[in-house]
């Protein structure tokens, strides 16, 4: 069965295993810490207690936290679709009749997974950290301050995101404007947005 089975290498399945291991290690660690808490004070300074704390406070929770980050950063890539605010944009992306850039990328499987995250996260470590901080502000809006009626992108869409895939490709280089001596530096520096010439990736108003 392609992509199925308990031992399949499918990423979601691997994450299930990592989650399961994290739960087991976390429970084992909680058991050790509870045991230490309920023992007498003089036992807590014994060599046995020190070994237990080494395992229950350093080793097991360290691995649990690591697994938590691995699972969290994987799952969070799909979290845009969990918020009803984004429903119209997701519907437009998945609409086979839509001609927006995002719909074309989805329909043609140019970005097969994690479509929102792929385009709205800058490449490299700094980009990802910025995306995480942005995600935290979205959570604050969702649970604390409320989502504004009209939503805007935080900063102008980075041209590097488009160029990461399209730049230097044969199709890109065939277009005169892309290689024009005057325009090319402006495109590469971000001074000239891709959307000056190309259609907006999403509908301009709420779909």
């Amino acid at each position: 069965m392609p992509g199925g089975g308990v031992f399949s290498g499918d990423l979601d399945n691997v994450m299930r295993w990592v989650s399961g291991a994290g739960i087991l290690l976390g429970l084992a660690s909680a058991g050790i810490l509870t045991t230490v808490l309920f023992r007498s004070p003089d036992w807590r300074v014994s060599a046995a207690a020190k070994w237990m704390l080494l395992i229950g406070l350093f080793l097991l929770p360290g691995v649990t936290m690591l697994f938590g980050n691995v699972v969290g950063f994987h799952k969070v890539k799909n979290s845009c679709t969990q918020c009803h605010t984004m429903d119209p944009w997701i519907a437009d992306m998945k609409n086979p009749k839509s001609i927006t850039l995002v719909a074309k990328h989805f329909q043609n499987r140019w970005i097969p997974d994690d479509q929102c995250y792929t385009c709205h996260t800058g490449y490299g470590l700094a980009g990802n950290v910025r995306a995480k901080i942005g995600g935290l502000s979205h959570i604050a809006h969702e649970y604390v301050t409320g989502v504004p009626e009209v939503i805007h992108i935080h900063r102008p869409f980075a041209v590097e995101t488009c160029l990461h895939c399209h730049g230097e490709s044969a199709k890109y280089l065939k277009i005169d404007q892309h290689v024009d001596a005057e325009m090319s530096p402006k495109i590469l520096s971000g001074e000239l947005s891709c959307f000056e010439c190309h259609a907006s990736p999403h509908p301009r108003t709420k779909p």
Binding site: S19, L33, D42, V45, F58, P61, G68, G72, V76, I139
Partner: protein, 76 residues
């Protein structure tokens, strides 16, 4: 004795720090288990901020407890 404990017994400060480390560790583990079982964006944020934060504090508390004991035994 600096904190009034009998010779051979752990210092009260060191015991308190160890207890605090265990409790903070349990808080951190609670949020990581919550996030593993219900991986929502909110639980992930709580795990990142509260869970890992209290786990970090637990490590600091236990490190201080060890330091205190080592100083008490005049190893450091």
């Amino acid at each position: 004795m600096s904190d009034g404990t009998a010779p051979g017994m752990p210092s009260k400060t060191s015991l308190r720090l160890t207890t605090a480390a265990c409790l903070l560790g349990l808080v951190g583990l609670f949020f990581s288990l919550l996030h593993f079982i219900w991986p929502t964006p909110l639980n992930f944020a709580l795990f990142m901020i509260v869970g890992q934060g209290s786990f970090g504090l637990a490590l600091v508390a236990y490190a201080f407890a060890i330091l205190k004991d080592l100083r008490r035994k005049k190893i450091l």
